[in-house]
């Protein structure tokens, strides 16, 4: 069980990191979302894997660790807020530069800046 869980986290991380390194905004956002699944699961698993031990007093004999659960619960919501923010950032960048490249600049600007530096 633990091995399978660890592999899941590894796969989520690897897939997330790969997507995060892409050049366009949308895959990067997807990658960040994927990565946050992995991170949330990792945080959650720091309370160890328990079956049928939901931390509701009186509902089980032994309870799983409620603290990581509380932390992950807010992390999920905040993670959503951050995803939304990054998505909007990419939309704004798309609107401003008419391009969805993560470096967010138009090649002409790049050339102009290079020329300026050369002039110095």
């Amino acid at each position: 069980m633990e091995l399978a869980f660890a592999v899941v986290i590894g796969v989520l991380t690897a897939s997330g990191v790969y997507l995060m390194l892409r050049a366009r905004t949308f895959p990067v956002v997807v990658g960040l979302t994927m990565l946050s699944y992995g991170v949330n699961l990792f945080l959650f698993s720091s309370g160890r894997l328990a079956t049928g031990g939901q931390p509701i007093i009186g509902s089980a004999e032994t309870y799983s660790d409620p603290l990581p659960q509380a932390l992950v619960l807010t992390a999920i919501v905040i993670g959503f807020a951050m995803t939304a923010f990054v998505v909007v950032l990419s939309l704004r960048s798309l609107a401003d530069s008419d391009d969805d490249h993560v470096n967010g600049r138009i090649p002409e600007q790049d050339n102009a800046r290079q020329e300026q530096e050369d002039a110095k």
């Binding site: 869980f5 660890a6 796969v11 990792f42």
Partner: protein
């Protein structure tokens, strides 16, 4: 309480003084005098205790965990310096009143001057070394601002920057030294440090600590090889030069050596470092002063030389030398401040400071000339003046120094040589300026005497020169005794203060110095010719070149790392995390821990297999963005099932509803974006990324595996035990969120609200035209809002709201709560937008979601602050049972109000974010404005 008052009053004065700038220079000068006058009055009652070597202390805590306390100490040494700072400060205020022109920013000048005064008093009166450090840095800063007071002058700005770089750098070294001392002693209180002298000196870190502290002292007091900043600081207005750069601030390093004398002095390292630095500074300063044509340049180098003399005296390590050093601090402050003021007057009245042009001023300003000549004579060490007394003591000590072999001749030789130079440059100051023919081409001609009151400060100081010179025991005897006692830590050696000691070897050295100096002055042209053969090093140019070279290196390094490519930053970030984490993890020997592995059941295995396929699939097919999104949602769903499987029902519900919102969000975004990612990156680059991603994934797998199989202890026992009796709820996760860790949650929902507002702000006035089709040639469907969906969605709303209320209310005891209920409500509302479109929904739900966020935060804060009313800390919760018809006995916790805040904030934030994006399309915006206009 009077000690902190003395230190803090000038800062208050600095705030008040500029308010009087409208009233003219006199008004502001009068106001600026107040702190010093009150300060002097407050110090006076303590004299009785201090005269016998007593100490007055005031202490209050500031940051005890860091060893930083707000404590002050007044003993003879700090009194001596405080008096110099306060009294010379008063004279400077008067002098500056006439020095500054009416159109200059007088308010700023006096405010800075007062800030400096407070900082300097702080240095000398702090009883805590860390507190002293704060004031130390403040003097560097105020000095920087005062040197560059005439901001339009490039030289002034450069000089200021140089001074800040040197003294600030020294300040860093000093901080490190003080931290070391504090570490050795275990306290930063001066009392403990001074008492622990033997402990410090025998400690293995003593050489390092001493070197660092001395670096701080030497840079501040312009000792060789850091002396170069002081002459360049002379670009400051002359009152600043007189006050900061001759009388007080440059003595801060000297003060530090005196203050820590019992703790650090008396070792070989101290002797060699301090005395040889002092000797080099003494000679170099005196030699260069001879060749400066600028009046203030001469005085600046002479100051460097005298600072070297005092340093050398402290370095000698004998008690009498320390007394002489303290004595010379007084004398130098008096005669040098008056000389600077005189130089300022000459500059003021002639328009130049070049001694090749200022000649024969005696006939134009005899009064000023007399004063300056007396002060200059004191600088040269003429008998019956104060400079003579401490110089004789210095000569005597130089003779006493027991160095092995021929080295024994070095100190007296250096002393005499420096004496010769001092006489020569003093003679030059007197003869060149006041006699030596007629003025050459003065910008202001003819010069005349300055305003009456501008001379008063100089007169007072020159009078002090005479008094100390002729009646030393009467005028400064008690103060010197108290200061010496405080410096040496109690025992004061026998010394005799009198205007003449009869004929002895030191007197002979003085005679030699006079004869030599006068001879040298008469033969000065030869020396000038000799000196001109050497290329003069312009320290400022060297310094600027060094600074710009460092800046260039910084630019190159920054440009190499930060080239504007986000892709690259992300890569570097991941690679460095892997690199940093790899070695320690390797050393830990990550493996399966002692708990071992537990068996896996088939349903879980299937779920995990689907998740792995979907996650990898997302990466593989990511170019087809829509497909990737579908796979991503599969991952999210399995993750929420996983939470349910591993005993976290709250998380499962949260993840499920967030999943819905996230996918809707990404779909919305995708609507505006290209639906296909082009192939741009070369194959090698992709392979590299796969390797990086693989390394990250394997690393996380190993860490997780190791963590999951280790035994562990958790602090959660507390939460489990106290959830019901303390928080009134059986759902421990929810009780943690709204009660135990309620403050965290408050912060988190605040972040949520801010993020949503940020999204709103970012998308205001942005118009994005969605592409006409899906990018593969298919146009969008014309049936944007299918009838079936509309018909199902509308009755869903009340049902979903009811469910969310139920989930909300039961949250304290069963899985649920504000977060989940808020998300469910949000999903139900979003469904309406999707099914019927923005315009239709906006017309029916006219809530501004900003207000919902605000209301939610307000509820949360009120719920927290409510506990203040009962005298409990923020967010203390209480609960009680009420009887509710139909439902029965029901428990109401005050945390419910808090949870309501969470609920509202989540709804507001989610909907504000999504509707902001939905509104982007010009299509929907036009429709909605039409609607408004129509109604």
């Amino acid at each position: 309480m009077s000690l902190p008052l003395v230190v803090l009053l000038p800062f208050l004065g600095a705030l008040a003084a500029p308010l009087f700038a409208q009233g003219g220079r006199t008004a502001i000068a009068v106001v600026s005098c107040v702190p010093a006058i009150i300060g002097l009055a407050a110090l006076y009652p303590h004299w009785a205790i201090l005269a016998d070597g007593g100490i007055v202390q005031h202490s209050s805590e500031w940051l005890p965990a860091l060893g930083l306390s707000f404590s002050f100490r007044l003993d003879g040494l700090s009194l001596l310096f405080a008096l110099l700072i306060l009294i010379i400060g008063l004279l400077i205020i008067l002098y500056a009143r006439y020095y500054l022109k009416p159109h200059e920013n007088v308010g700023k000048f006096y405010a800075l001057l007062l800030c400096f005064k407070g900082s300097m008093l702080g240095i000398v009166m702090s009883s805590n070394l860390l507190l002293m450090m704060i004031f130390w840095e403040l003097t560097s800063l105020t000095s920087f601002l005062l040197i560059s007071f005439w901001t339009h002058k490039q030289d002034a700005r450069r000089g200021a920057r140089m001074a800040l770089a040197v003294t600030g750098g020294g300040g860093l070294a000093l901080l490190a030294g003080i931290l070391l001392i504090g570490n050795i002693v275990g306290s930063y209180e001066l009392e403990d440090v001074l008492a622990a002298g033997d402990l410090i000196k025998n400690h293995s870190m003593y050489p390092v600590a001493l070197t660092l502290v001395l670096l701080g002292a030497f840079t501040k007091s312009a000792q060789f090889p850091f002396h170069f900043w002081l002459p360049h600081a002379m670009q400051a207005p002359t009152p600043v030069s007189a006050y900061l750069h001759s009388a007080t601030m440059v003595k801060a390093g000297i003060f530090l050596m005196a203050r820590l004398y019992p703790a650090l002095a008396g070792t070989e390292q101290w002797f060699y470092m301090v005395s040889f630095t002092g000797m080099a500074t003494l000679l170099i300063g005196a030699y260069v002063a001879m060749f400066k044509h600028d009046l203030k340049g001469l005085l600046a180098h002479s100051t460097v030389s005298h600072l070297g003399l005092i340093t050398l005296l402290f370095g000698m390590g004998t008690q009498l030398a320390a007394v002489a050093a303290v004595f010379h601090v007084i004398n130098h402050a008096i005669f040098k401040a008056s000389l600077f003021m005189a130089a300022g007057i000459i500059d003021h009245e002639t328009g130049t400071r070049d001694m090749r042009r200022i000649n024969g001023l005696w006939r134009y300003m005899p009064h000023t000339a007399t004063l300056a000549m007396v002060a200059a004579a004191s600088m040269a060490g003429v008998p019956l003046l104060n400079g003579f007394l401490s110089k004789e003591m210095f000569f005597a000590e130089a003779l006493e120094l027991n160095l092995p072999g021929l080295w024994a001749y070095l100190p007296p030789l250096v002393a005499t040589l420096a004496g010769i130079f001092a006489v020569a440059y003093s003679a030059r100051f007197i003869h060149d300026v006041f006699f030596n023919g007629r003025p050459v081409n003065l910008p202001i001609f003819p010069p005349h005497e300055p305003p009456r009151y501008m001379k008063i400060p100089v007169e007072i100081l020159v009078f002090a020169c005479l008094m100390v010179g002729m009646f030393p025991a009467f005028s400064v005897g008690p103060l010197l005794y108290a200061a010496a006692a405080a410096t040496l830590g109690g025992e004061v050696p026998e010394y005799h203060l009198t205007f003449a000691h009869g004929f002895n070897l030191p007197l002979l050295m003085s005679v030699v110095a006079f004869a030599g100096g006068l001879l040298m002055y008469t033969q000065r042209q030869r020396f000038f010719d000799f000196h001109a053969r050497f290329r003069e090093i312009d320290e400022k140019a060297v310094f600027e070149a060094l600074v710009s070279r460092i800046a260039d290196v910084a630019h190159t390094v920054t440009a190499a790392i930060e080239n504007g490519s986000l892709q690259r930053y992300a890569m570097l970030l991941v690679v460095s995390v892997i690199a940093v984490a790899a070695a320690p993890l390797w050393n830990l020997g990550i493996a399966v821990g002692s708990n071992g592995l537990s068996p896996i059941d088939w349903p879980t295995l299937v779920g995990i297999a689907v998740l792995v396929v979907a996650a990898l699939g997302t990466a593989v097919v990511h170019r087809d963005r829509f497909f990737a999104l579908v796979l991503l949602s599969v991952v999210g769903l399995i993750v929420s099932l996983g939470f349910a499987r591993f005993s976290a029902p709250d998380l499962a519900m949260t993840q499920l509803s967030v999943e819905v919102v996230t996918i809707v969000l990404l779909m919305l975004a995708l609507y505006y974006m290209p639906s296909w990612t082009p192939i741009e990156t070369p194959k090698g680059r992709r392979l590299r990324d796969i390797l990086i991603a693989g390394a990250a994934g394997i690393g996380m797998t190993l860490i997780t595996l190791a963590m999951l199989t280790q035994p562990f202890t958790s602090i959660s026992e507390f939460f489990l035990e106290n959830s019901k009796p303390g928080g009134g709820g059986t759902n421990v996760v929810n009780v943690i969120l709204v009660d135990f860790r309620g403050f965290d949650t408050l912060g988190e929902i605040t972040v949520l609200g801010i993020a949503a507002l940020g999204i709103y702000a970012m998308l205001r006035n942005v118009a994005l035209t969605p592409p006409p089709g899906d990018g593969q040639g298919h146009p969008w469907t014309r049936d944007a809002h299918p009838m079936m969906l509309q018909q199902i969605a509308r009755p869903m709303l009340p049902l979903a709201l009811m469910v969310s209320v139920y989930i909300f209310l039961r949250g304290h005891n069963m899985p649920g709560g504000g977060f989940i209920a808020g998300l469910i409500t949000a999903v139900a509302l979003i469904l309406q937008y999707i099914a019927s479109g923005m315009p239709w929904t906006q017309a029916r739900i006219s809530i501004r979601y900003h207000n919902v966020i605000g209301l939610g935060l307000l509820f949360a804060v009120i719920a927290g602050a409510g506990s203040f009313a009962f005298g409990y800390p923020f967010l203390t919760s209480t609960y009680d049972y009420v009887y509710w018809p139909v439902v029965g006995k029901f428990e109401v916790a005050s945390a419910l109000v808090f949870d309501l805040g969470v609920y509202l904030t989540v709804i507001g934030a989610t909907l504000l974010a999504l509707t902001s994006i939905g509104r982007l399309s010009p299509h929907s915006a036009i429709k909605s404005t039409n609607k408004k206009e129509g109604s």
